[in-house]
């Protein structure tokens, strides 16, 4: 089966690779681009461990073909911290919002996408937004608190900057 030439942008960097037509975006990120921060937990779009954004939309990268990323802008966990950690990343460490840490990249990517749309969510809104991101270790309590604390800090910073 001939491969498909894919040209895309990942975390701001232009990248090119040859994709098997069956290859998922998740597998291409992990195996072709060595971006192993994005995880596979199920391969069926049920667990959210593979969450990335494509042109700003939150997707399960296991449900998207690598070839579909051609010409798109992909953001992964590896692109979340710029010069310093994103407030969500910092708050997850401070609140002990991770135990094994395997779901953490997907939850951080999903939570960032939430706060970009809704900077002041209720707990219930956070819980429903993250309902597609399974965590088996924490019972979600500290995750919700970390997201809310990060959101509060980001609102404060935003007001400070305005």
């Amino acid at each position: 089966m001939s491969k498909i030439h894919v040209s895309t942008t990942v975390n701001g960097d232009p990248v090119e690779f040859l994709a098997d037509p069956r290859e998922t975006l998740l597998d291409a990120l992990r195996n072709q681009l060595d971006l192993t921060g994005t995880k596979e937990g199920c391969g069926t779009g049920d667990c959210g461990a593979c969450s990335v954004t494509v042109d700003g939309t939150l997707v399960c990268s296991c449900l998207m073909l690598a070839a579909e990323a051609n010409g798109k802008r992909v953001e992964t966990i590896e692109g979340m911290a710029r010069e310093e950690l994103h407030p969500l990343q910092r708050k997850f460490i401070e609140h002990a919002a991770l135990q094994c840490g395997y779901c953490t990249p997907g939850i951080l990517v999903a939570a960032k996408a939430l706060l970009e749309r809704n900077p002041d969510p209720t707990d219930t809104e956070v819980r429903y937004w993250l309902a597609g991101n399974l965590c088996r270790c924490t019972g979600y309590d500290k995750i919700i608190r970390a997201v809310q604390d990060a959101a509060a800090e980001m609102r404060q910073d935003h007001r400070g900057a305005a």
Binding site: G37, T38, E94, G101, L130, G139, D141
Partner: protein, 749 residues
């Protein structure tokens, strides 16, 4: 960094610093099982039985091997023969022999130049099966007429006349049970069932194995215990343990399910056949659910006698458990001792059988056996409390085990905190919140033994006065942080100056896995002893420098101080000063401690849950949840709370949603997360925690171990809350909406 509790006088223990591996884990840099790759690496896929029970007539791999890029196929014929006991069980589970014993049982494996090609090749391996009769339910497997799925499975303990699928039998007790029931005002007996559930770690099993034709190999694997991986792979493959070097990756959850092997030997066997090229093997989620460690399913009879004042006079249980098609995999040996562990009852009789069935080989799951036992016993206690209109906490306080009571399974409890958890639950605001219509409250207590186990730890002092600690228990939930805190406290240096590394099998003596709630207890205890050794050596170095007796030196605040008659004669010599010149004062300074750790402290907890049940749909919503558990000492309280909350969430899942569903054909019907539904964020409320600290005298800082007890009370507590809300008692988990709705309708008629 504020201490939660100042009464202990510790500087660091009880604080909540950032975990040392936190940065790697929030940036995607942490390397888990599937994140590891090597030059020249191949990828593998496994062929699995689609039948619950079938004789393997023929395996034809010729079409697969004809594909370009396919390098090796392994079947049972490639593995050594002559194994016995659990080694044979492990080998039988790694690859089926003559017979596939469950849906998903591995039959062959293939290695190829890409993962997609390996999957293509696996589909081209033709297996001819002769389907055999099967049985998957625990009660059905020992019913008259059930097919005997393996001959000769019974061990010496099984009495004559039991069904051929019964593999083990167990009984013990004390006191006169019949007299106890005669002395009771009411005697009630019920049967309870729990379905198998899966640990549900989000990271599927993954490894990279490499082995040459000389039988020497290496493995990188996500596991709770890499020495177990080494020993088990060596046994299955017939190689020497010392010739296999196993390095643990970061681990994406385990909960007991990663304390054994499943497909790991296949990567080594494929590598050897492929000329020593490394082979990566990563399970899919459906492979995880079909073929790795679920817990046992259970069917349990309980009988209790109670006086009208709540005094329990006698108890009796008969548990039936299946843990797959292999003897020794169901936790009857843990479930029975856990059944009445929270109580001090004058007469008890315990009896259990293990039965085999066409299901995957069960693995440990967080307090193995205890949640099922608690569901049975705590549910019946609650039923009788409701019948006699007694407060469930008062009844548990009246009958509860306490310091010095002889446990239900024999040993005398030393210092335990069960009553403290009950009193704290009773005093908690949640216990007084008024309930509305269709709402109910459930209470249950739970127990886990905790475990010590084989432990080996080394600590090395650096030239700059920092400390590197080498441990052999993988860090699943923050144990690097807790061990780092204990070492820093002992040495009297900043937490940031201690680095705790989980090291490979070549670097330490044998360590048991991170299991039995033992990592912070046992590796922590050994790390403290190693630090004390290093302190003794540093005191000797300082004494030699000062020309005084080593006994006249004391260690405090990270420095050697002259003491006794020499006090104040010399300025203190810090760990940094001693480290800087250790090369000229006698060489490197380290401490090492290895032990089969004793002195574990039994763990008790009490949970209170409020639910609301929708009478139209039978759907249960958890309104609020309280976990109270004795930690001994909470070294890092945030991660103690995390264990409590995570255990409660898993227990809630077991109580409400999770179950293995087998079809009439013996195939697992729900091997994906969409259908095997673990709790999601929108299913749960915040989970309130109260940490009780009744220090364990068997640990230098009082640690008990906190990992497991938390999954135990939710099963009965949730079912009891539903009974309170609806008047309908669910005695068969999960309390799924259709089941609750049917029970509500039945209770009304």
């Amino acid at each position: 960094m504020a201490r939660d509790d100042v009464k202990t006088g510790y500087k660091l223990i009880g604080t909540r610093p950032n975990r040392p591996d936190g940065l790697d884990k929030v940036t995607g840099r942490a390397r888990y099982g599937a994140d590891f790759s090597l030059p020249g690496m191949l990828h593998a896929a496994v062929v699995r039985s689609p039948h619950a029970h079938a004789r393997i007539v023929k395996i034809d791999a010729s079409k697969a091997l004809a594909l370009d890029g396919v390098k090796a196929v392994v079947t049972r014929a490639d593995l050594p023969t002559g194994l016995t006991g659990e080694d044979l069980n492990l080998q039988d589970n790694t690859l089926a022999g003559d017979t596939a014993l469950y849906d998903g049982h591995a039959v062959a494996a293939v290695a190829a130049s890409s993962a997609l090609l390996a999957q293509d090749a696996a589909r081209l391996i033709e297996v001819t099966y002769e389907v055999l009769p099967h049985v998957t339910d625990v009660d059905a497997a020992m019913a008259p007429g059930a097919p005997v799925i393996r001959e000769g499975v019974a061990d010496y303990s099984v009495p004559e006349g039991m069904h051929g699928n019964v593999a083990r039998y167990m009984e013990f007790g004390h006191g006169d049970v019949e007299a106890g029931f005669a002395a009771a005002d009411i005697v009630r007996a019920q049967t309870y069932k729990t379905e198998a559930t899966h640990q549900g770690y989000i990271e599927p099993h993954a490894c990279v194995g490499q082995m040459g034709e000389d039988g020497r190999g290496e493995m990188w694997v996500c596991t709770q215990g890499h020495w177990y991986i080494r020993r088990m792979c060596a046994a299955v493959l017939g190689i020497e343990a010392a010739n296999l070097r196993v390095t643990p990756s970061e681990i994406g959850g385990g909960f007991g399910g990663k304390t054994t092997i499943f497909m790991e030997p296949l990567s080594l066997a494929l590598s050897k056949k492929a000329g020593g090229r490394p082979v990566k093997l990563v399970m899919s989620r459906s492979e995880v659910l079909r073929a790795t460690g679920p817990t046992a399913s259970a069917s349990m009879d309980v009988k209790l006698g109670m006086k009208t004042d709540g005094t329990i006079t006698a108890g009796q249980v008969y548990f039936r458990m299946q843990g797959g098609a292999f003897r020794g995999m169901s936790p009857i040996g843990e479930a029975l001792p856990c059944a009445f562990a929270c109580y001090d009852i004058p007469a008890l009789k315990h009896e259990a059988v293990e039965v085999i069935a066409n299901r995957p080989k069960a693995a440990a799951y967080r307090a193995p056996g205890s949640p099922m036992a608690a569901f049975a016993v705590e549910s019946l206690v609650d039923e009788m409390c409701r019948e006699l209109k007694l407060d469930p906490i008062e009844v548990r306080l009246k009958n509860g085990a306490t310091n010095g009571s002889k446990s239900s399974y024999g040993p005398v409890y030393n210092v335990i905190g069960l009553k403290e958890t009950l009193e704290a639950a009773q005093a908690h605001p949640n216990y007084a919140i008024p309930l509305g219509p269709n709402q109910g409250r459930g209470v249950a207590s739970g127990f886990w033994f905790n475990h010590g186990g084989e432990t080996s730890v080394t600590l090395a002092v650096g030239e700059d006065g920092t400390a590197t600690v080498m441990i052999g228990t993988p860090d699943i939930g923050g144990s690097r942080a807790s061990i780092g805190l204990m070492v820093a406290e002992t040495l009297g240096i900043p937490y940031e100056n201690v680095r705790v590394n989980v090291v490979e099998t070549g670097a330490l003596g044998v360590n048991e896995p991170t299991h039995g709630s033992r990592a912070t207890f046992a590796s922590g205890k050994a790390a403290v002893e190693a630090a004390r050794q290093a302190i003794a050596e540093m005191c000797r170095r300082a004494a030699a420098d000062w020309g005084i007796d080593a006994d006249a030196v004391e260690w405090k605040d990270g420095a050697a101080h002259p003491a006794g008659p020499n006090a104040g004669k010399f300025p203190p010599m810090t760990i940094g000063e001693i480290g800087a010149k250790m090369g000229s004062t006698g060489g490197p300074i380290s401490g090492h401690h290895e032990v089969t750790a004793e002195g574990v402290g039994a763990s008790f907890g009490t949970h209170v849950v409020d639910v609301e049940v929708d009478p139209e749909t039978g759907r249960t919503t958890v309104l609020r949840y309280l976990v109270v558990q004795d930690a001994g000492t909470a070294i890092h309280p945030a991660y103690v709370e995390g264990q409590y909350q995570g255990g409660a969430a898993q227990g809630i899942g077991w109580a409400l949603n999770e179950e293995y569903v087998y079809g009439a054909d013996g195939r697992l019907q729900n091997p994906v997360f969409l259908d095997y539904r673990i709790p999601v964020a929108s299913d749960l409320p915040m989970i309130d925690t109260v940490i009780i600290e009744v220090p364990n005298p068997g640990h230098p800082y009082g640690v008990r171990g906190v990992g497991e007890t938390g999954i135990t009370p939710p099963l009965p507590a949730v079912a009891s809350a539903i009974a309170g809300a609806t008047g309908a008692r669910i005695r068969s988990l999960p309390c799924s909406p259709p089941k609750v709705l049917a029970a509500i309708k039945a209770a009304r008629t």
